[in-house]
Subunit: 306 residues, 2 copies
């Protein structure tokens, strides 16, 4: 069925080598597209758009299958898969990048399979803004487009980032990126500035402290689910984004008032599960029930009972 | 009336000289006792226990009066008032202490006026733990005792801090202090460790990201009210503590389940107001209505509508 892809995620696919003070893992399946698709797959049928090299392990394709992710949009190019390597500090938050080898990702040109073009929900991962615009051109009329970005594009392609903002429903970025883009410090005034430039919603992520949702007339404090242990924080932001888009697609409809809040909480609990193991291991072992349980718990943890 | 003091706050009274990247103010009324009492005074009749020197300005005594704080417990000693001076970074969070002159605070021995000894609610500010124990001995049978502490006492008088913990209802401390005291990193496991050592509640403050309330069977995420502008963050933690104890005293009763959550939210909004001007200026200009408005707003900002 051409219409069964409800959410499309565009982003990077990487083989990550990650060290924490406690463990070291090489060639772990990563990249924003992997994390976001896996997270979205709990809620909706999801198609991925990305590129890997001819060295990409079959085992990881099988893993996408187990998540029931549609990988028709995953291109295979001659050469090596994008590789990233980093080391986390003892706080499990700050990290140092050791190696970034773009490899086949350097010349990535996203192309949407026909079956993806009618998808209602689109997550533009933090690829170059001109590629994000290209993907937008390929989509028929998505209900909801969420774009991520990163410091590199804000610094080098600011005008293009602003162009993307005019065409998306939601911009999601972290606190430092929001400050860099809006050129001011306080997050509320950053959000005001960003909202004036197009998106209906702005989500500012604050790492382990959760996130803030802004629109012209509301502010929602998205709590982080307090985990007992962080094993590998890589991909938390992407799992948050993917869980959000997936859960929003699951609800559907045009009334976002409560759907966006619910979906952000699902993003939050999906991200919280993701950091409890390396790569996609934790999400692979997780069922929807576990996410529902955490969502209910999070609702209790924020219920002021007023 | 002997019984009209409902909450007692013990702590420091200081004359602060504070510089931010934008403003510089000298000899501002500060100290944990000043901030906490002012915050508590919105909700309940509050008595202060502290010490000042003979240089303490009459204008500041008049300010306490305007907050309707009972200052019978404020001792005046020969010598100079405690002075602190610091400079905030551009983030308005990190600060460098330039000067700490303990002056009369060095030999402070808190004594509770008779009218304070039957108060139901007690806030032990971050004075030395043996002084906190002395104050506990002077109280008849408070319903609820909340103790703050600081890195200095954890490092130098660890055993005494643990002794205090056995005798209080709630320990409130910031994330770094919790990690220092519990000797572990994740806040949930810090809280577990702390709860095993006496207090029924542990509140871990996370600065501008709010706080977490822990008990044996609950976890409540206390959101920070997102302010538009931080003018002077000094005293935010003390205003949070004082607003909390005041609001809890206002509710009264023995059933803390929802009262503690409500009071923590009041602490949060009182602290948010406090940072919008230097010293106690913002709280002085603030009415209870403004706090109620922010509380209702905060409830909406965290309502997931699930």
């Amino acid at each position: 069925m051409a219409n069964d892809i409800n959410a499309v995620v565009v982003g990077s696919v990487a083989l990550d080598t990650v060290a924490t003070p406690f463990e070291h893992h090489a060639d772990v399946l990563g990249g924003s597209c992997s994390y976001a698709c896996a997270a979205a797959s709990f809620f909706t049928r999801c198609g991925m758009v990305g590129v890997v090299g001819d060295d990409f392990p079959d085992g990881y394709r099988a893993l996408y299958d187990r998540f029931d992710i549609d990988a028709t949009g995953l291109q295979t190019a001659a050469g090596k898969t994008f590789r990233w390597s980093g080391v986390y500090d003892g706080d499990m938050i700050n990290r140092t990048t050791l190696v970034t080898e773009l490899n086949v990702f350097e010349h990535f040109r996203p192309e949407l399979p026909e079956a993806y073009r009618s998808a209602g929900y689109l997550l533009l991962g933090n690829i170059a803004p001109d590629l994000q615009l290209h993907v937008l051109d390929e989509c028929r009329s998505p209900h909801f487009v969420m774009a991520d970005t990163m410091d590199l594009w804000i610094k080098t392609q600011r005008e293009k980032v602003l162009e993307v903002m005019q065409r998306v429903t939601m911009l999601m970025l972290n606190d430092m990126e929001a400050r860099l883009l809006a050129e001011r410090y306080h997050l509320r005034s950053c959000a005001e500035w960003l909202l004036e430039r197009g998106p209906r919603y702005v989500v500012i992520k604050k790492g382990e402290h959760g996130a803030l949702l802004f629109s012209k007339d509301e502010l929602f404090i998205v709590p982080a689910y307090p985990v007992n242990k962080v094993v590998d924080p890589t991909g938390a932001g992407d799992a948050f984004a993917g869980g959000f888009v997936g859960a929003l697609a699951e609800t559907g409809g045009e009334d976002y008032t409560s759907a966006v809040r619910r979906a952000l909480l699902y993003g939050s609990v999906t991200a919280s599960r993701n950091v409890e193991a390396f790569g996609l291991d934790a999400l692979e072992q997780c069922g929807r029930k576990e996410l529902d349980r955490r969502l209910a718990e999070l609702a209790r943890m924020t219920d002021a009972g007023l």
